[in-house]
């Protein structure tokens, strides 16, 4: 292990390390902690200039209550869920199929198709913006949730295919060979042999997609407008315009908007990190 394990070092070094950890963490998360404190302060604290002092009263319930019951936030949250969940499902379905095809079979254009997905996944969004917006308009899906979902599924399929294909390649190929010798139909191999083995990869991918799509801002503002279809990232900016200097409400709103991916991360941490670091260990 590198650096030297802390329990093999001197006592004073151990103690300073233990002390340094929380200090470093507080510095690292300082801007976020500030927002958390903002979100439980009364609005009056800001008008009197008490930004960093102790809250004069704890207004947790009032502030968060306002966000939930007196703003468009719940609507935006619901939209985000309605965009994120179908995208997750669509990506899992499409990419487990493409990943299977590219990971298991040898055919001439295999690598080229794979590279098409990978390259497409790296492309800057702006080169897609004008045509995708037109396409969505033409299909009558501009400013609708399905309009966003369809694009997200298509685009994320690039990343997910990369992910699934590499995962399937690392599986023991013998299993598939044996099944073939037994005369199992190819689609059954997919369904009964490969798919069960892919479960951890599917979980990892689903969490990643959830985070990516929940946090997407660019496509939300390109393909939608207004509270009826915009997700929470775009919603929070209109919230910002509405409550300009109401820092306590803005903070509460931001925290609410940030919470679902955070919760997802803590619940599925192992999968999440496995997904992000795919390929980082060889």
């Amino acid at each position: 292990m590198f650096p030297t394990p802390i329990d093999k070092t001197s006592r004073s070094w151990q103690l300073s390390y233990q002390a340094l950890l929380p200090v470093a963490l507080i510095f690292w998360l300082l801007p976020l902690l500030a927002v958390a404190v903002f979100s439980i302060k009364p609005g009056a604290d800001f008008t009197t200039g008490n930004y960093w002092g102790f809250p004069t009263s704890f207004e947790f319930a009032t502030n968060y209550g306002k966000v939930f019951f007196a703003s468009d936030m719940p609507r935006y949250m619901l939209n985000s869920v309605m965009i994120t969940v179908p995208t997750m499902i669509g990506c899992v379905v499409l990419s487990s199929m493409t990943g299977f095809a590219l990971g298991v079979y040898k055919f001439k254009s295999n690598l080229w198709i794979f590279f098409m997905f990978v390259a497409g996944n790296f492309v800057p969004f702006q080169i897609l913006m004008v045509p995708v917006r037109d396409l969505t308009l033409d299909m009558g899906l501009y400013n609708t949730i399905p309009g966003l979902v369809l694009f997200h599924i298509a685009f994320q399929t690039g990343f997910c295919t990369l992910f699934m294909r590499n995962f399937i390649r690392a599986l023991p190929f013998d299993l598939i060979e044996v099944a073939r010798v037994e005369g199992v139909a190819e689609w059954r191999i997919f369904w009964y042999v490969v798919l069960p083995l892919m479960k951890p990869a599917l979980a990892a991918m689903a969490v990643l997609i959830f985070t990516f799509i929940w946090n997407d801002f660019f496509w939300a503002i390109v393909l939608t407008q207004g509270a009826e279809s915009q997700p929470v990232t775009a919603g929070i900016t209109s919230f910002n315009a509405q409550y300009r200097a109401a820092y306590h409400l803005m903070s509460a709103g931001s925290i609410v908007a940030a919470l679902p991916p955070v919760a997802m991360f803590f619940l599925m941490q192992k999968h999440f990190i496995a997904g992000l670091t795919l390929g980082a260990v060889k």
Partner: protein, 305 residues
């Protein structure tokens, strides 16, 4: 077995060509979708960049006109320059991530929670990160200036000052990006070969020498991925700029991706063709990196099955 009798009675064309046909059946939906929404739009954008078009009316062919205009456009150069600054400074996330990973790579009680909490900034939306940092930099009450005040430094309006604005936004972007690189390196460090470390220790290597000659070479896969995601993140930077400054002051914090959006889809106008030409330039820059990434992957893949 029923499947064998089936195969015997109807050795259909599909059955005979199963292994050749199946991959295509599995590929069709994904590939079709990807072609429609990603590949076709790339070429379509390149085509649009040769037209003058407001997105609604008739498009008129201007050939290289848009690119010629770009050549004389100061705002384009400001954006390009900022893109380069982003590219260079964003890479700081890699050593910073390695540093934090080394700091946290210990086994003490609660270290797992520390690692997760250090990763926090990456999980939250860039929109929220942007808002948080806007307050952090606020000249009248922001934490940064409170902090500088302790050292007797006058308040700095980071986001309102054209000299600092891009650096201020990059610093905000480095926060989540460093967290990402940290996680990559923490995973990489787990896989470092302990025997090599022991051997190097016996040879008297420690500290920097150990890090540079023994550890870093073994972290190469993690560094490669960190490099890929950081470069792409730098060139995709949009959310933070849009939230924190909207390109200002005086357009000084624009990058190509933001300028393109501004030209094509904001109150400044709906110049789709001109916007598309900016996007093409950005795409060409990205293409250099994509080609390099694909080449590396190809080299890697040849070793595989």
């Amino acid at each position: 077995m029923s499947s064998s009798t089936e195969a015997a009675t109807q050795t259909s064309w599909y059955k005979r060509n199963e292994i050749a046909v199946t991959p295509w059946l599995f590929l069709v939906p994904g590939v079709a979708f990807f072609l429609l929404y990603v590949i076709y739009p790339i070429f379509s954008s390149i085509n649009v960049s040769f037209y003058d078009w407001d997105g609604l009316g008739e498009a008129s062919w201007v050939g290289l006109g848009n690119y010629e205009e770009l050549y004389w456009d100061d705002a384009f150069y400001t954006s390009l320059r900022n893109n380069l600054i982003w590219l260079v400074l964003y890479l700081l996330a890699i050593p910073a991530g390695l540093f934090i990973a080394l700091f946290l790579n210990q086994t003490v009680t609660g270290i797992r929670l520390y690692k997760s909490l250090f990763f926090f900034p990456f999980v939250i939306s860039q929109v929220v990160v942007g808002l948080v940092f806007t307050w952090f930099y606020d000249p009248s009450f922001g934490l940064l200036n409170q902090f500088l005040g302790v050292f007797g430094i006058d308040p700095v309006n980071v986001l309102g000052d054209e000299r600092f604005v891009t650096y201020g936004i990059i610093a905000a972007g480095l926060w989540p990006q460093t967290a990402y690189c940290m996680i990559l390196y923490l995973t990489g460090l787990n896989a470092v070969d302990p025997e090599q470390i022991e051997a190097a220790r016996l040879d008297g290597a420690k500290g920097w020498r150990m890090l540079w000659h023994i550890i870093v070479p073994q972290l190469k896969p993690a560094t490669f991925i960190a490099f890929v995601v950081t470069i792409i993140g730098a060139l995709r930077s949009f959310d933070l700029i849009s939230i924190m400054t909207n390109g200002g002051p005086f357009g000084e914090s624009r990058v190509l991706s933001f300028y393109m959006f501004e030209v094509a889809l904001s109150e400044y106008g709906f110049r789709m063709g001109y916007g598309a030409s900016i996007a093409v330039v950005l795409f060409m820059i990205m293409l250099c990196f994509i080609a390099y990434f694909l080449y590396s992957m190809y080299q890697d893949d040849k070793g595989g099955r």
